[in-house]
């Protein structure tokens, strides 16, 4: 059961939420004007979005919505404009990219700003976690794509030693980076970045080298990978979604250019965002005309459309429906989500707090709630019987009996010895008494 979540840059459109399978609209979350890459689902528990702000306002804005309520529940105001945000799959961290090129990393449960570092010379445009979430990949307006090891970021000692914090810095793009995605394969994954210089570039994470550069007819704003990484899809400003080759043989006859195999087009306006549904093997695209289109990537047909708003859609997420949300309706899930302890966390801090030592010493964790002990292991009556029988048999066993006999023999020997001793003592005493007596008699006689 997957949900499609889409947001727009226009505030009154809000965040739309549909069931991908049935197409039924769920709840519409209000007052969200998100920038591109500014929508995230935090660990299946709630939605978070950074907000477009007036240039004059001094702080940024990140809002939270719980699944069950259309109103904004938690508002945070980071120190500067935050555009892209991303959360790790467990929902423990939110990272945000600032206008100044700084990246902020917050702990969700406590809202603490754990780290802030200067990542780019100009505004950060997109952020994405690697497959195992130990690396963070950021793209920037200065055309740079950088890979960060989060461990290194937190390691004050090593980061002071190192000349730079990043693992890789890809500088081949000449204009603003519009999207970055990464594939599977752990440390051997690829990174695909799109830029306003009309190219998409494929990078190797393990070597940090450029593998392929593909020139498109128009600027690509969104990229998504085929799950088998056979191709990738690039949503362009001319309204086409180009299919570009990764593993696939690149066709020479393509009219679009080198390595571009084909395109999915619907004469729509610019494609602004893409997502891939793994469950249904579907490609989702968001467009400037406010529609979310669902494509079958095999046949290139549109299988479903969601109307989001008049304004442009600029974020699409495909998320699993959280198990505690009832199937039909979102409205009465409030109580159940509360019971699951999913109250929304506190707002995100503005600054790194170094003074409160007590807080820094601690971390909030979620322990597993499920019991996964096999039922049979719990019953112990028959075990008790077996143990008892074993005891019983052990007592009756020949080895035990033999040992017992030995012990008894030993005991008997010792007792005999003691008897002998007593006897001897008695004899001595007896003799002594008799002597005394006789002596006394003799003395009496002599008297």
């Amino acid at each position: 059961m997957e949900l499609v979540i889409a947001s727009s840059s226009i505030a009154d459109a809000g965040i739309g939420c549909w069931d991908l399978q049935s197409g039924a609209e769920q709840l519409r979350y209000k007052s969200c004007a998100s920038p591109s890459h500014g929508l995230a689902c935090v660990g299946d528990r709630f939605l978070a979005s950074s907000q477009l702000r007036e240039p004059s306002s001094s702080s940024g804005s990140v809002l939270y919505w719980s699944w069950s309520k259309p109103q904004v529940e938690v508002k945070s105001f980071p120190a500067e404009h935050i555009k892209p945000i991303a959360a790790n799959s467990e929902g423990t961290y939110i990272v945000g990219g600032g206008q100044s090129g700084d990246i902020y990393l917050w702990e969700v449960m406590s809202g603490r700003l754990l780290k802030k570092w200067h990542a780019h010379y100009r505004a950060v445009t997109c952020l994405v976690f690697s497959e195992d979430e130990s690396l963070l990949i950021s793209g920037s307006e200065d055309g740079c794509v950088r890979v960060w090891s989060l461990l290194m970021i937190f390691d004050d000692y090593e980061s002071q030693q190192a000349t730079h914090l990043y693992l890789h810095s890809f500088t081949e793009h000449t204009l603003r980076v519009t999207d970055v995605v990464t594939g599977c394969g752990g440390c051997n994954a690829i990174i695909v970045s799109a830029s306003e210089d009309r190219t998409c570039k494929v990078w190797s994470l393990s070597t940090g080298r450029l593998l392929r550069s593909i020139v498109f007819p128009s600027v690509i704003d969104a990229v998504v990978l085929d799950p088998a990484e056979h191709v990738f899809y690039a949503g362009s400003r001319d309204g086409n979604i180009y299919v570009a080759a990764l593993n696939a043989e690149s066709s020479s006859s393509s009219s679009y250019g080198m390595h571009i195999i084909s395109s999915l087009s619907h004469r729509s306006r610019a494609v602004t965002c893409l997502a891939y549904s793994t469950e249904g093997d579907l490609l989702l695209s968001g467009s400037e005309d406010g529609m979310v289109r669902v494509w079958d990537p095999k046949t290139h047909n549109i299988v479903r459309m969601f109307k989001h708003a008049k304004g442009p859609v600029n974020n699409i997420l495909v998320v699993r429906r959280p198990h505690y949300l009832s199937l039909g309706t979102f409205s009465n899930s409030n109580a159940s989500s509360r019971r699951h302890g999913f109250l929304l966390p506190p707002p995100l801090d503005k600054y790194v707090n170094l003074t409160d030592e007590g807080l820094n010493n601690k971390t909030v964790i979620r322990l597993p709630t499920a019991r996964n002990i096999p039922q049979d292991a719990l019953y112990c009556s028959s075990r008790i019987i077996d143990e008892h029988i074993e005891d019983f048999q052990r007592q009756g066993s020949s080895a035990a009996a033999e040992m017992e006999v030995e012990r008894l023999k030993h005991e008997c020997g010792r007792s005999m010895q003691i008897v002998q001793q007593w006897k001897k003592m008695y004899d001595n005493l007896h003799e002594f008494c008799i002597n005394e007596l006789l002596d006394g008699d003799q003395v009496g006689c002599t008297k």
Binding site: L151, F154, D155, G186, E249, S251, K298, S381
Partner: protein
């Protein structure tokens, strides 16, 4: 009654009531047979279980009479059991209680729901009276626990269960406090744990009393280790009774405080005086009141005084275990973990190694030092356990502290010499790398590899090193295994050369004694995880050494024979690790080293194949884990050798003969890789490549005709290509002629190396050649086309003419061929995707680079 009919078979429902009645009649201890041996009880229970005699489950087809008969039989059973329970002979009473416990587990749901409160009262009466004999008490406590276990699975009995449970708590605590038999304590604690797990709310009111009871037992140190562990577990579960963040944190804080207080005494003179007070300060921030001591104030005076002198270590260890359990067992709400004090505790413990600082030397008696040293390993072990639990419990949230832990682990690796501790340390690094991914592998890689190479050393010096470096140990081994050695030398001859290249530090190792098998296994497993997670990223410094280490380890431990599994030296103390375990983990790690991304072909691929094939084919190993694993390894490696680009079905373009990543993305790479290897024979990389095309083509014979679109374009390039190829061939290296047939032949000559030896495959190749020359040449050879296509189709970058382009390429190739003529022949092959950018290959084709759209150079220019 139908019961008298013949039975259909052993699954017949009719059998069940009949059998149950027979059991009651004959096997049951009754007045006539008072002193039955309990061993018959086992038989009775196993019959009940196997035939599900109490389940009363049947489908609707079973007729009513039969159902009735079964029901009444079970009624009889319950009646008989209950009458045993109420017997005043303790022997019979015990039997009855145990059988009642089995009934709880086995009987139908509706029956259980209908009568559980009656049964509860039956057992309850045996828990209460003090005069009851001990084993009856134990049995009733355990049976009671079974009752609650069953009750938990049933939805509508929650409330009843809770109220019953709360009735039990006080008698239970009384038993723990006042009874003097350990078996009874154990039963009571077990029941308490069950209640805490399923009906925690019922203990809410008695939380403090329960804590006091458990802690006093724990501190008294008067129980066995097992019992202490149960107590520690119970203590860890206790916060559940309140089920909120605060009580969990408070419990954790109290335990940590107690541990640190104990440690202050124990480590006196072994560490800086300030350590202890700092640890306490981290727990209780200045200005805040310390929490009440664990177990309440009453305990503080007597118990602590007495206990610290006597048994501090076991108590500390068990409290640490309690912390571990708290961190890893389920809890209903999120909790705040005092992560820094926890880590500080680990650090504090493992940094004490029994050495005495100079300053406190005069105050230390030899006996005191001896005592501390004797207890330290256990304490270290539990601290590592705690660290593992911290990693497991906090998972991704450990990130801010990960670097600290890494340094701790690295430091400890240097100091730690006991095998048990090192095993634990390896498993700790394993869970760190797995839970924190590539980033952690980057940090820990070198450290793990260094240490593992040391721990695996005897393999190193037993494997070909003898020839180059005199080693007394290996020499003595050689006498023992002279028969083995001969074979080994023929087999591992090449290692002698490699040994020099890799520069394995044999010198440093040779004086160490052989590590126990369990330690080797732990080390190999740590390497395996490291390769799996981070084998491809910045691993250049350690990768060659590890690859070599693993192949030599695998070869070596598989040499000693296979038949150990199952018959291994089994000692009476439970399962032991055998050579078979080491073999298995060595082979697993070997597979990981082959699969983990690297540049170029894994250096020991052929040898590994040989090894896997030998094991999986060996008759003796049939059915062992080892053989199963090797079969799996061969399957996995198949993909390495015949890579599959996974096209979507019905993908519109002509992707059927799509190549693997390497060929497709970076065609010229195939050449460079191939030429290197081709110095002594036909250009087998091309053949290799070709083989693959045919292989793919063969699979697609049916569809091939549908793939015409690009057919025409490819004929011409192919001709020019082969023409050029033969030109290049004439200029030095032996390259095959332009004829397609010979292409195929050349490929055949090389296939043994490339493909898993299999008769079937050769046959398919054979068939293939026919197809090749007949109808299928188009699609099949078309795949070759990618080479020129790269240049041809690129309209944006103006390449001269196809022919020029190709000749250039060929010339370049011959150069490369010349340059690398001396390179090892094992270097051939499927270089990884990223070899494109390999500098050496770039240098040799300046022209092509300009024309090639894939390279970054062009983007820059």
């Amino acid at each position: 009654m139908s019961v008298l009919d013949n039975l259909k078979n052993m699954y017949d429902v009719k059998l069940k009531p009949r059998m149950l009645r027979t059991l009651i009649r004959e096997q049951f201890p009754d007045e006539n047979h008072p002193g039955r041996l309990p061993s018959e009880l086992t038989k009775l229970i196993s019959l009940l279980r196997t035939h599900k005699l109490l389940s009363e489950s049947f489908d609707d087809s079973v007729d009513k009479k039969l159902a009735e008969s079964w029901k009444s039989a079970v009624d009889e059973w319950v009646h008989a059991v209950l009458s045993l329970v109420s017997s005043n002979m303790s022997n019979k009473c015990w039997t009855g209680i145990c059988l009642l416990g089995v009934t709880f587990q086995e009987c139908a749901v509706h029956r259980f729901l209908a009568s559980f409160s009656v049964w509860f009262n039956n057992i309850y009466s045996h828990i209460q009276p003090p005069a009851e004999s001990q084993f009856v008490k134990v049995a009733s406590l355990n049976t009671m626990s079974d009752l609650f276990s069953r009750l938990d699975g049933l939805p509508n009995a929650k409330r009843d269960g809770s109220s019953l449970a709360s009735k039990l708590i006080q008698p239970l605590l009384k038993l723990i406090n006042e009874d003097d038999s350990e078996a009874v304590w154990e039963g009571a604690v077990h029941l308490l744990c069950t209640i805490l797990t399923y009906f925690p709310a019922s203990i809410h009111r008695y939380h403090d009393n329960a804590e006091a009871a458990i802690v006093s037992k724990l501190i008294s140190g008067s129980c066995s280790v097992n019992m202490m562990k149960k107590l520690a577990y119970c203590l860890a579960l206790l916060p559940k009774s309140k089920g909120d963040d605060d009580s969990w944190c408070l419990m954790m804080q109290k335990i940590l405080l107690l541990i640190n207080v104990h440690l202050n005494d124990f480590f006196q003179g072994f560490e800086e005086e300030t350590e202890g007070s700092e640890a306490v300060r981290a727990l209780v921030p200045p200005g805040k009141d310390p929490p009440p001591p664990l177990g309440g104030h009453t305990l503080l005076g007597e118990a602590l005084d007495k206990a610290t002198k006597q048994l501090p270590i076991s108590t500390i260890s068990l409290l640490i275990i309690s912390c571990c359990m708290m961190l890893t067992s389920p809890y209903p709400v999120q909790v705040t973990v005092p992560i820094v004090p926890l880590l500080a505790l680990v650090h504090r413990v493992i940094m004490v190694d029994g050495s005495v600082p100079r300053a406190s030397l005069p105050f230390m008696t030899g006996m005191q030092q001896e005592f501390v040293c004797s207890e330290l390993p256990l304490l270290h072990l539990y601290s590592l356990e705690l660290l593992t639990a911290i990693i497991e419990g906090t998972r991704s949230q450990l990130l801010p502290h990960a670097a600290y832990i890494v340094r701790l682990v690295k430091q400890y690796f240097k100091r730690c010499a006991l095998p048990e501790l090192r095993i634990k340390l390896y498993s700790l690094t394993k869970s760190m790398v797995v839970s924190m991914g590539v980033g952690m592998a980057l940090y820990l890689g070198q450290e793990v590899v260094d240490n593992a190479s040391v721990d695996l050393n005897p393999v190193g010096d037993d494997n070909g090193f003898t020839a180059s470096i005199p080693n007394p140990k290996a020499a003595s081994l050689a006498v023992m295994q002279s028969s083995h050695r001969k074979r080994k030398h023929s087999f591992t001859g090449s290692f002698e050369q490699q040994n020099d290249k890799i520069g394995f530090e044999v010198e440093a190792l040779k004086n160490r004694q052989q590590s126990p098998i369990a330690l080797k296994i732990a080390a190999v497993e740590a390497i395996e995880v490291l390769l799996t997670v981070g084998g491809g990223l910045r691993s250049e410094s350690w990768r060659p050494a590890v690859d070599f280490l693993l192949i030599s380890l695998a070869t070596d431990c598989c040499k000693e024979g296979w038949d150990n599994e199952g018959k291994g030296t089994s000692s009476p103390s439970g399962p032991t690790v055998t050579l078979a375990d080491l073999q298995l983990s060595a082979l697993r790690a070997l597979l990981a080293s082959l699969l983990s991304p690297s540049r170029g072909r894994p250096p020991y691929l052929a040898r590994a194949f040989e090894l896997f094939r030998r094991v999986s084919a060996g008759k003796q190993q049939a059915g062992t884990k080892l053989a199963a694993f090797c079969a799996h390894a061969l399957l996995t490696l198949e993909v390495l050798i015949h890579p599959r680009g996974l096209p979507m079905e019905r993908f519109p373009a002509s992707t059927y003969n799509s190549l693997d990543k390497v060929n497709n993305r970076f065609p010229e790479n195939v050449y460079s890789g191939g030429q290197k290897h081709n110095t002594q024979g036909p250009p087998d990389s091309d053949d290799d490549d070709d083989l693959y095309h045919k292989w793919v083509g063969n699979d697609n014979i049916g569809e091939a005709s549908a793939l015409s679109p690009s057919k025409k374009t490819k004929d011409i390039p192919f001709e020019t290509w082969t023409g050029n190829l033969s030109m290049a061939g004439s200029s030095g290296t032996k390259i095959l002629e332009g004829s397609k047939e010979q292409l195929v032949m050349g490929m055949r000559s090389n296939e043994d190396e490339v493909v898993v030896e299999s008769q079937q495959f050769q046959e398919s190749i054979g068939q293939f050649q026919e197809h090749v020359t007949d109808d299928l040449e188009g699609p099949m050879l078309g795949t070759k086309r990618t080479v020129p296509d790269g240049g041809l189709d690129n309209k944006e970058h103006e390449v001269a003419s196809t022919e020029d382009f190709l000749t250039d390429k060929q010339d370049g190739l011959t150069n490369v061929g010349g340059n690398v003529a001396g390179a090892s022949s094992s270097d051939k092959g499927k270089s990884s995707v990223f070899d494109l950018d390999d500098d050496s290959s770039m240098d040799s084709f300046p022209d092509i680079v300009n024309g090639d759209p894939d390279s970054d150079v062009e983007e820059l220019g």
